[in-house]
């Protein structure tokens, strides 16, 4: 009996000693600002990553919205409870880049130099890469969901109104707007004045928006709204359109301005590349097109717009092990296959050439023409302005814009006065930001 027992103990010990010790995977925490479908896409990417390897585990958490995530992240950082990677949007880029020198943000390119295996900087499409780079071109944030503003067109309405082609320029739009209105539809809606008709007006027309070369050469002190005649012309025209009933304004909420398009009441809607995922299957017959521009103001040339959306930023204070794992994750997320998956599901642009090459190879754009526009518009060449803007307190500057646009369109104040107000408000906010640098 005793012998049997001893043999049993020996056997058990052997089994335990020979069993491989399983190290718990490194947990990589990622905070993002997406909800609904876009969130489930991120979860899917995380699942795929976790399935292909067991060294690390990606744990994404939604923080609600881009605005919420910034405040939550800052508080968490102060309590040293921040994640490894956080998604911060375009308007927050200046804040994040400024935090490099304070040691909060760990520049992506530095991490790639240290831990990278398959990192190829030139594969990243320059327009996208530069928005989240510093003034020396060093990549700080990892471009992730890059959208741009695009024009959605309801082809059924155009047919009913007898409009043959989707307008490429605002002049062409004006030529067909009355027809559309007479057919009983709203010609034009748009969902985000600051992003679509301010920031991307300047980009689309190759104009500088702030001094200091859009903040890339020097900290900006003022915006150039009142000093840019083209911009004044644009809003003068928008006001005219509103009076003629060619353009309707439904307040500042994105959804309120998108609703008429979804309900089949509006012919054209200016929205984001990412709006595609919510539109498919809801609006019957729509196309995704480049956003218009004033050909008389650009001499007929179409310039690329800025990317919108957000980037993923790596945060400091973690261990070597974690960064090595994080780099591998970053490389995974930028493989053409994963990018194509994300591009397809969400409508956001592919950020590397190898991804777009792959797409072309497999005839992706023929099968799904919706996705073509975003990449095309972002890859236009010939602009002489930087690929973005680097201005602090930009979310509040957007508030100032929101406060003045309705008054300008209403006639409560003149366009000139509105422009001056916006410049004044922006200058104050930029000065506040400069004080903290």
């Amino acid at each position: 009996m005793k012998k049997l027992f001893r043999a049993f103990v020996a056997l058990i010990t052997l089994v335990f000693l020979s069993a491989p010790s399983v190290a718990a995977p490194i947990e990589l925490h990622y905070w993002h600002g997406h909800t609904g479908k876009l969130e489930s896409i991120i979860n899917e990417i995380a699942n795929r990553w976790n399935a292909t390897q067991d060294e690390s585990k990606l744990i994404p958490t939604s923080k609600g919205s881009y605005e919420d995530i910034l405040a939550a992240f800052i508080a968490a950082y102060r309590a040293n409870e921040h994640p490894h990677m956080v998604q911060i949007y375009d308007a927050g880029a200046a804040i994040m880049v400024a935090q490099v020198k304070n040691g909060v943000v760990y520049p992506f390119e530095d991490m790639a130099d240290e831990y990278g295996v398959n990192f190829n900087k030139d594969d990243y499409i320059p327009g996208i890469r530069n928005f989240y780079a510093d003034s020396d071109g060093k990549m700080i944030g990892i471009p992730f969901n890059s959208s741009t503003c695009l024009m959605y067109a309801n082809m059924d309405i155009l047919k009913k109104a007898g409009v043959e082609e989707v307008p490429k320029t605002y002049e062409e739009f004006e030529a067909v707007a009355q027809q559309i209105k007479d057919a009983g539809f709203i010609p034009l809606m748009q969902s985000h004045d600051p992003w679509i008709w301010v920031e991307n007006f300047f980009s689309r027309h190759n104009l500088l928006m702030t001094d200091g070369n859009n903040g890339y050469d020097a900290v900006p002190t003022t915006t150039l709204f009142a000093d840019t005649p083209e911009f004044i012309t644009h809003y003068t025209k928008v006001k005219e359109w509103k009076e003629k009933g060619w353009y309707e304004y439904k307040g500042r909420a994105w959804g309120d301005n998108q609703a008429p398009f979804i309900a089949g009441e509006a012919a054209f809607w200016l929205g984001s590349a990412a709006s595609f995922s919510g539109m498919k299957g809801v609006v019957p017959n729509f196309t995704v097109n480049h956003i218009p521009y004033w050909s008389s103001l650009t001499g007929g040339k179409a310039y690329p717009t800025f990317i919108g959306g957000a980037a993923n930023w790596i945060l400091s204070g973690k261990s070597d092990e974690e960064y090595a794992a994080l780099m591998k994750l970053a490389e995974f997320m930028t493989t053409p296959e994963i990018q194509l998956f994300y591009h397809n599901m969400s409508g956001y642009a592919a950020v590397t050439y190898s991804a777009t090459d792959l797409a072309n190879e497999i005839g992706f754009y023929t099968a799904s023409p919706y996705h073509k526009a975003v990449g095309e518009q972002l890859s236009l060449t010939g602009s002489t302005i930087p690929g973005g803007y680097r201005a602090g307190n930009w979310p509040q500057i957007r508030e100032v814009i929101y406060e003045n646009i309705p008054k300008m369109l209403n006639g409560d104040i003149t366009i000139e006065q509105g422009m001056k107000n916006m410049d004044k408000g922006a200058a104050k906010l930029l000065a506040q930001f400069a004080k903290t640098l």
Binding site: I74, G251, R252, P395, E403, P406
Partner: protein, 292 residues
């Protein structure tokens, strides 16, 4: 002060400790921090901090958006107080007057008090939405109401939502106040004055002064602070930031704009306003009203 009391040394500290600790950590510490923030310039992360004297205050007070919010808040407080008070009073007088169904009416008019401002706001949102809003179409047909665009229409929108909720609070207190007025006074006044209308204004209403002043303070507090839930779910300050209350603006500037200095300065200014109102309430009102 009680004549008879305990003297135990440790027990008394023990009993007062829990509340004191909570108050010190979660009330006073934030207040101190608010003061620090108000006099400091810093970036959202707390870097680049330096003492800025009154800079934040000048920044805030010279901001046209702040003055707009100040103006709106004052108008807002006045309108809400006026409408909620008068309708509440009207209903209370009638409820006090009837015999049949008095308690039923009381129950039926009290319950909106329990609805959270945020819920009231979301509900109002549906009534004023362009697609489904019954009130939107009603007003739109009358004069082309469009709160997305027109600031006065937006005013009407938030005034209606905020006043609606507060009517029942005024009703409860006025009713109690009316019921406290001794029957003998009412009966005596019936003999002196036939017109119930005149009776009300010359006798009843003056007797309601304590309640009225009390309610004015309650309404001011409500309109000043509690309506944040309503603004955030209805106009969110639109159009053009003209329906932002002071509290709402401080919240947005601090939490979204991440400007702690500006939010702190705005909070201090509001604390001063509350202080002034409280002092006014104690000195002039409570001092003058001496009944019973």
């Amino acid at each position: 002060m009680k004549k008879v009391q305990f003297n135990s040394y440790f027990t008394q500290y023990f009993f007062v400790a829990p509340q004191l600790i909570i108050i010190l950590i979660f009330l006073y510490l934030p207040i101190v921090q608010t003061f620090t923030d108000a006099f400091t310039i810093q970036d959202p992360f707390g870097f680049g901090r330096y003492f800025a004297g009154f800079d934040n205050f000048t920044f805030v007070l010279s901001d046209p958006a702040y003055l707009t919010a100040l103006r709106f808040t004052l108008i807002f407080i006045f309108v809400i107080t006026f409408f909620s008070c008068s309708i509440g009073l009207l209903l209370a007088v009638q409820a006090n007057n009837v015999i049949h169904g008095k308690s039923a009416y009381k129950t039926l008019l009290i319950w909106p008090y329990a609805i959270a401002p945020a819920v009231v706001g979301v509900t109002a949102n549906y009534f004023f939405s362009e697609r489904l809003g019954l009130l939107y179409s009603f007003f739109h047909n009358l004069w082309g109401f469009d709160w997305y665009d027109n600031v006065h229409d937006a005013y009407i929108y938030v005034f209606i939502a905020a006043s609606w909720k507060q009517i029942s609070a005024n009703f409860i207190f006025f009713l109690a106040g009316l019921q406290n007025i001794q029957k003998s006074i009412i009966e005596a006044s019936v003999i002196d004055c036939k017109s119930s209308f005149r009776r009300f204004w010359t006798i009843t209403f003056p007797l309601l002064m304590p309640t009225t002043f009390f309610l004015i303070i309650i309404n001011i507090t409500y309109a000043f602070f509690d309506t944040l839930g309503i603004i955030d779910t209805t106009t969110i300050g639109a159009p053009s930031g003209e329906t932002k209350t002071l509290v709402f603006k401080a919240y947005i500037d601090g939490f979204r704009g991440l400007d702690l200095g500006s939010a702190g300065a705005q909070s201090i200014i509001m604390m001063l306003i509350v202080l002034v109102i409280t002092v006014f309430q104690f000195r002039f009102i409570e001092g003058r009203i001496h009944y019973n």
